[in-house]
Symmetry: C2
Subunit: 924 residues, 2 copies
């Protein structure tokens, strides 16, 4: 094996091909398949492109080796073994052992030392590494290989018995937690007790005797909790640790994370076994993390943090506050930066970082350890970044010639653009800050404070703005972080769990706010001299890392130049038009500024609900005859006309799709007795008569009731008034030389006959208005496709309609028999238990609703090839839905104004994806 | 033309082929197409098989001629001209005139006299004749050709001036009504005035002078109403009359009738122009109608009525009471029968009738006129008959060798079987109806009215016949509906709760009686102008949807021997199994007696609503923990077990499909404050707590809410209890050597994942019970397909399910976005205006719901070829739906017990139709 791995040329290549093919074909690995891939000393059996098989970390470790980056030697057990492990009910395949043992001797040769050797023990780390990064989700064991004899060897070899015993107690602790499932607190409690006994504050102050005592006590805990001694044999330790990593792929929190992120269970994780290097081996050792560019702003400045005399986990855990890598990032009076502290190692680090970024053509997130002055890279991966940074890095890299525009457009997540649009605290309204921390995730947030993730979720459900305050966060807190507008933690750095997750979510976040002290039992948070209880108001500036008392007003974000550049590139690449859902001139203006190319949904009922109009609407509803109804409608006509005029003017010649009245009439009537009495007085009719009407209009299932175009089948005068208002407004625009492109949209159409009649009504009214005003307005008449039957009978409808707009909100409700208002009681269970993959109101249900959309557009286009097709449901801004619409050949998507930039980007990405898929299909 | 029509042999045949082909291909007739077809003197250009082109009457007139039956000569203008007439906006095609004039001379040659001749005028009748009989729908003009000069010629020719002027005034009257649109009353008023002036009672008593005066006055009416003189030119009269017949095809009442009967508008009517013969030409003249068998009982006895000295319309109009044709039908003291009065004509009539029945192989409805001793047949057609007669005639004719069994089975309408099963109001004892509604459940019922379910139960306990009157019914009323003989509701449609439950119970029911207003507080029901209090007597005709005052005697249903015979023949011919929807052992027994081969839908919630169980159900709902819920369920377990035991025993080894709990839990909770207080006391909890729970469970759209299998996703213990009850009952049956075939059905499934989990729950529970009881029961687990998404994802579901049962009630609601409870406000407009062809809750919406069913069954069978497929919605008993299910290859239909015989027949007819369609398809 050693010979083979050492050989270059043809042989390794032919060996490599086999696992890659099997990974692509998704075949189960047979007993003869290669399961273990070595790396070290500038050579590797893997490479970056083998990420599906080796996981991100393993593939990058291999790739770094190939690039000549100093990486401790090791090997990767492939993700296929993870699947095999699951299929075997949590047991490792027996043929693995032999391969692992062979690989161990390779590491020994490369790094020196021998695994389990009492004189010169080789220690190992065992880490997970999935295809995509899953921060904090998977478990790690360090210092593996220590036992009662090797610990002495380590002490002798390093000349540092304290280091050896500290490593040993860390190993037992991690192994106890990860492999044996013993609660961490059991160990931490002993550490606390030991520190108290020694009269010291910090772990680092415990001397070797204290650590030796702890090791003994830890052994006792293990015996007590498991009934067995802590395993002495290093190979047993390794074997169980590998199994534990695979096992951790199946833990509930990993499963939940994957579900949230849409990661398939089948992908599995790889296991990386690697020689240990130590950042805590005296004062010329350190460990840290770094980014090749600023992950918060995107600036092209090397950025990182390190801890001297520490192991890697210490930086991430946020127990000690790390120091900056670069001198210029150091605050006055703070300890020295790495640049000052170890200039040689710093230079090597910067060189390596540059090489890696150029190689991967993306901003890298690096983990490094300096052992007695020697730099070792432990990991490189594409770094997480804020939306603002993502945009800037993508655009900059095009300018630097690193990537193409298409690549830049593909790299920024549409959600990240959303972040850029997020508000920040109004700088002119800021009180003095009452605390500060690390600016972990930008933007501003105000809200009532809570101390637990559950409380955050509850407060959000009540409609409150909420800030989550924690000592530190863990994966258990993710749902609360999602519910919160902002997160503030006492511990942790820029790369702590809180910081990474908050940036990913686009939540404002401040970490490492050392003045913060949370007393969970008493329900009190102290921040310096101030004391707060749950519900008190605070504000966070995540861009500056500052905390303020009370509610500070928010102001709209400013979009950097790169933002516009990226979107222009996206516009050039996309095929789908992006429209907006806007009901007012102000919304229409905003959406236009964000790049909307028309209004895809202008809901007229919102106009009906305005207080000054509601009385007229109610008079219309209460009318006992067509004449009375028409009289009431006549009062509404000038108001509706003004609405449309304003919107048409705002859109300056872009198409405006106006949906005629949709909700059932009872939605406009009062509900309580007091309201009924009040209205009856206003209308000048007896309470009882009004109540009778209210009762008569009440519906058991309003979603399936008398609404949408059904209103106009029974009361044509309502739509007639609306159409009159649209065309009078359009003619008024025409007089002012403003171009108008009205598109009249009928809601809740369920069949061709219904559409035919109402189209006739629209045309008749429009013609009459245009004739009276002496103007010709070009217009279209189309329909929502939001009733399953409309999708099923789309052919005949399309013969009569100019356009289809899929109303996926209602289509989802009816296709899944799922009331948006009532499903809260069980939908959570459905998505949590994976009965539904996602909330179908957020992510389009492709199997059901998507199938109807496909039928609808296919039948519609067959009947009328030039049928204009769009989507105007909430899904219209969802990237996965946009991709689906691209696939179906839609003409446009329509979404809320603030979502327009994200939709433009998503549309470009969908076009790129479609081009690639098309290419792949053609190639087959 | 005359020469051509006279010629036999090849020429007419080649001419005939052209219109027939064009009729089949649906092409528009070009100007050279034959539009007019002659008949008379034993020859005819048409024949019976040309019904689509010539209409029923025209085709039969031609056929009778071919058979040598004496028929006055005439011609038929084809139905294609009717279409042409519509397309030309109500104008006759110009090329028609020439053809008509040629035909007129042919009639003149055959019958003597000349059209418009002052000496020997030929008079004509002009009648409609559509492809299927549309009684009373189309208009007729008689005596056409009379004017101021021909009337004198007729007087001279017949020697009967009174007859001539009576004919003339009839002609002006009919022409005025039908062609000129003058209200009949205008003419009748003058007749009344004239009779009063002459001091006579009967029209026949008016003398020639009076009639002459009337003719003058009628001319004045025409002038006054139309501004023009009554047309003198006979050809003008004819031309306009033909147009009026075609026009009458487009009148609202004709359109409505066609919609109700499902007759396509495109079929059109033909016009029959025929020489007049007179039954009112003196004492040796008469006119009458006859049936070759008794249309009420089906007895093989010639049956008819006639009027001496009368025109055909007089018999139908019912102004004079006709006399029987056969001597034995004459009542003592009544005037003589035709047999006695004109024995010769009678014999010819009986001979002709026999010949016609043998020729058409069906019971004939004949119109005849005897003019001065000569018998003329004016029409023959298949006679309408009661259900009882239809069954008897069909079976008898097979025995007589006239038709085959398949033909007999095809001839009886499934609705006619329904008639046979229910008692009905004695038609001879009916007062005028005082209200009407939807014919929701057939049969007749009389009794004392009550307004609450409890009152119905009490009245029944006192031995009274009782009718339950409600605004609408809910599950709380079921015990009262069961106690009542009939149910009348103000609201609701054909599939409202009242309708569905009543049909299931075989109770007479009328729903949607909008005139009904119940004032519960004052204990008064208003029905139009009438007011009733509890205990007043009413009668309901659920077959017609009519309400009568007082007690109308009932006629018990008689199921003759023929009923069983016909159904046995049907059973031998059908492929579809027929199951029943039954929730109780009594229903199950009844359905079995009606021939159900299993239960397709056993709804378990009806069991939950029984008063003695409701408290336990409510305890279950109020439970705050799984333990509490399980304790409450444990109380329900023995009751459910008993229910299932009874049903399994009743079905003796036939399959029983049990649908697990479906409705949302709030349906079981009280609604009013008083009920809440009462229940809170029963449950021993504060009112407020109960009210809170009631409020918390309320839903905006319960149809799309937390119900069906969703209940079991959140509360698995509910279904676990039900499954336990099913299998404990099944094991108990097994111990008693009763075979059981339980099929567990999950409602509201929307996807495979949901089904998979619940199937596992069912299997786990079933296995546990069977193990504990030491029995093996073979069972199936399947699903309702009632959510559109289930039909769209049927493939994956079918891989896990043993059977599909299409729940077309809910599938209709969701596919059309149409709430059964709320659509009353607009559905009427939709069906009346033809936006929907039918009420989709009564007749399956093939384009929407049918499309989903097709997809569902095709994808399901593809995934699992042995998938068992049925339908259990209300449509399961509808013949058109059954035909569709046959076409889709379903295994069974399921319907209410009383509907089972009709469904068996419909299934046989569907199989016959399918065979024929298959044959036709193969032939192409």
């Amino acid at each position: 094996m050693a010979t083979r791995s050492g050989a270059g040329g043809a042989k390794p290549k032919s060996r490599k091909r086999s696992p890659r093919r099997s990974a692509v074909a998704g075949k189960r690995p047979g007993p003869r398949t290669k399961q273990v891939f070595s790396f070290g000393a500038g050579r590797a059996e893997g490479r970056a492109s083998m990420r599906p098989l080796l996981g991100g970390k393993g593939a990058n470790l291999a790739e770094m080796n190939r690039l000549g980056v100093p990486v401790p030697a090791g090997f990767t057990i492939s993700t296929e073994v993870c699947g095999e492990f699951s299929r075997r009910g949590g047991r490792l395949p027996p043929e693995l052992r032999e391969q692992v043992i062979k690989q161990l001797s390779k590491i020994e040769r490369s790094m020196g030392g021998r695994f389990g050797d009492a004189e010169a023990p080789l220690l190992l780390s065992v880490r997970s590494g999935a295809r995509v990064s899953m921060p904090g989700m998977m478990d790690t064991v360090l210092n593996l290989g220590l036992n009662t004899s090797t610990v002495e060897g380590l002490a002798a070899q390093t000349g540092d018995p304290r280091f050896a015993y500290d490593s040993y107690r860390r190993f037992i602790q991690m192994y106890g937690d990860v492999v044996l499932g013993i609660p961490k607190e059991f160990f931490e409690e002993r550490i606390r007790a030991r520190k108290a006994a020694c009269g010291v504050d910090q772990d680092t102050e415990l001397d070797v005797e204290a650590l030796r005592g702890l090791v003994e006590e830890f052994g006792g805990i293990v015996k007590e909790q498991t009934g067995e001694e802590f395993p002495e044999r290093p190979l047993d330790q390794l074997w169980k640790a590998i199994g534990a990593v695979f096992e951790s792929w199946r833990t509930p929190r990993a499963v939940t994370y994957r579900r949230l992120e849409g990661i398939p269970d089948e992908w599995g994780t790889a296991v990386n076994v690697q020689a240990m290097v130590f950042g805590n081996l005296g004062s010329d050792s350190a460990t840290g993390v770094a980014f090749t560019r600023n992950p918060s702003t995107g600036e092209r400045l090397f950025f990182g943090e390190f801890l001297p005399e520490a192991q890697g986990e210490d930086v991430v855990a946020g127990i000690r506050t790390p120091q900056p890598v670069r001198r210029s990032d150091r605050k006055p009076g703070a300890p020295p930066s790495l640049q000052e502290f170890m200039p040689g190692a710093y230079r090597r680090l910067v060189d390596t970082a540059k090489r890696l970024e150029n190689h991967y053509r993306d901003m890298q997130d690096l983990e490094f350890t300096i052992q007695r002055g020697t730099l070792w890279m432990l990991q490189t991966r594409n770094g997480k970044r804020t939306g603002r940074a993502a945009v800037k890095i993508a655009v900059d890299m095009v300018r630097e010639g690193l990537i193409e525009r298409e690549e830049a457009v593909s790299r920024v997540e549409p959600e990240q653009l959303d972040q850029c649009l997020h508000p920040r605290l109004d700088p002119d309204a800021l009180p003095p800050s009452i605390g500060s921390g690390l600016a972990a995730s930008p933007g501003g947030a105000s809200g009532a404070i809570v101390f637990t993730a559950d409380a955050a979720v509850e407060a959000k459900a009540r409609g409150e703005d909420v800030l989550l305050l924690r000592r530190e966060t863990s994966p258990d807190d993710v749902h609360g972080m999602d519910a919160a507008n902002g997160i503030l933690t006492a511990l942790g750095g820029m790369t702590s769990h809180a910081a990474v997750v908050a940036r990913g979510m686009g939540r404002t976040c401040i970490t490492g706010c050392s003045e913060l002290d949370i007393d969970l039992e008493r329900g009190i948070a102290r921040l310096g001299e101030f004391e707060f209880t749950e519900g008190d108001l605070l504000s966070l500036d995540g861009t500056q890392g500052l905390v303020f008392k009370g509610k500070v007003p928010l102001i709209a974000p400013e979009l950097g130049r790169e933002f516009g550049t990226l979107l222009r590139w996206a516009d050039a690449l996309r095929r789908l038009e992006v429209r907006t859902n806007a009901d007012t001139p102000a919304d229409a203006e905003a959406a236009r500024r964000f790049g909307a190319r028309g209004i895809g949904l202008c809901r007229t009922e919102h106009m009906f609900f305005q207080p000054d109009r509601l009385l007229a609407v109610r008079r219309m509803i209460m009318a006992e005859s067509t004449d009375e109804r028409e009289a009431a409608l006549a009062r509404l006509l000038p108001m509706q006309r003004d609405d449309f005029f304003g919107i048409f003017r705002a859109m300056r010649g872009l198409p405006v799709t106006v949906r005629l009245l949709d909700p059932p009439l009872h939605e406009f009537l009062p509900h309580t007795d007091a309201e009924v009495r009040h209205l009856a007085t206003d209308l000048g009719i007896p309470d009882t008569e009004l109540q009778r009407k209210v009762d008569a209009l009440r519906e058991t299932n309003p979603m399936l009731g008398h609404r949408g175009c059904r209103l106009a089948i029974t009361y044509p005068e309502i739509y007639a008034m609306q159409v009159r208002a649209i065309f009078e407004a359009a003619c008024a625009c025409a007089r002012e030389k403003i171009r108008v492109r009205p598109e009249v949209m009928l809601p809740l159409v369920a069949g061709a006959e219904e559409f035919k009649r109402l189209r006739a009504l629209v045309e008749e009214t429009a013609t009459a208005v245009m004739k009276a005003q002496g103007r010709r307005i070009r217009y279209q008449v189309g329909t929502m496709i939001e009733v399953p039957r409309a999708a099923l009978t789309a052919g005949p409808i399309a013969q009569l309609a100019d356009f289809f707009s899929f109303g996926t909100n209602d289509l989802t409700q009816m296709t899944l028999a799922l009331s948006r208002d009532d499903s809260g009681r069980f939908l959570g269970t459905y998505t949590e238990e994976g009965i539904l993959p996602d909330d179908p109101f957020v992510t389009l249900d492709l199997d059901g609703v998507g199938a109807l959309m496909r039928m609808g557009v296919e039948a519609g286009r067959k009947a009328r090839p030039d049928l204009h097709v769009g989507i105007c449901g909430e899904h219209g801004g969802d990237p996965r839905t946009i991709r689906f619409c691209e696939e179906l050949g839609f003409d446009y998507v329509s979404c809320s104004p603030f979502r327009v930039p994200a939709a433009r980007l998503a549309a470009a990405q969908a076009a790129i994806h479609q081009k690639q898929t098309g290419r792949r299909k053609r190639r087959r």
